[in-house]
Symmetry: C2
Subunit: 146 residues, 2 copies
């Protein structure tokens, strides 16, 4: 038999799932002029803060298959935001790093993309903001564990 907390985590999960779907759809529309889609922004962020990184590791970090990441990296490279470099030790492996333009753009693009979200959070009460701040950490842990 299920415990009290187990039973009640189903609606919580449903709400989080729904919120995630609608949040991303909304942010995509807010950011209509943005040069960086969510997958590209997310990948670039990993490269900027965690690079240089191999394509395989980047794909794993972003939880997508290598062919998907190949295409995202190629697009970012064409935009001049990252560059590939062959690994000297292992010729099969490719190291991906961010260019100066990539680092610059990441900060601007990320700020703009989540602007609407920040605005909404700022409209909350101080208690709610504090709650959400703590929850964001828990949520990150939850997702990492999946």
């Amino acid at each position: 038999m299920l415990s009290e907390t187990q039973k009640s985590s189903q609606p919580t999960a449903e709400r989080l799932h729904s919120a995630a779907i609608h949040m991303l759809r909304k942010l995509r529309r807010e950011d209509e002029t943005g040069s960086l889609s969510a997958p590209r922004l997310s990948a670039l962020s990993v490269v900027v803060f965690g690079g240089p990184i191999t394509l395989g590791d980047l794909a794993a970090a972003e939880q997508v298959r290598p062919p998907t990441m190949t295409r995202i990296v190629s697009a970012l490279e064409q935009q001049g935001l990252v560059f590939r470099k062959q690994n000297a030790q292992d010729g099969r492996s490719v190291n991906i790093s961010a260019t100066a333009a990539g680092k610059r753009l990441l900060l601007k693009a990320r700020t703009r993309r989540i602007r609407a979200l920040v605005r909404q959070i700022n409209a909350l009460t101080a208690a709610e903001q504090s709650l959400l701040r703590k929850a964001a950490h828990v949520l990150a842990k939850v997702v990492a564990g999946m």
Copy 2:
């Protein structure tokens, strides 16, 4: 100049944004055998609990353009989960309702899709679960306001 809370909501927003991206990617992969993708599941949910509903209203509720919703509804209809019916008063308008199979499948599919998420939440401490439960409500409000 920005207040203390305003400054600190930027990283919270970033964490929530990142968590949403990775959560949805992970759930999609968990649910590999699932007959219902996230957009279809989300739309069906609105129809089941809020239907009958016009295509335009459904598109607005799901924050997508009418052509996108036309296609999703057509797919759901082909799967026998919803059906269209012309509005008697306004011949341009179409009302969408769930079939019995649609209602049945929604519950099963939703449970399966978020199973991994529920599992992770259950692994949290009681305090964290309580925190997340409250945060889910706040988050729903935040997203609704965007």
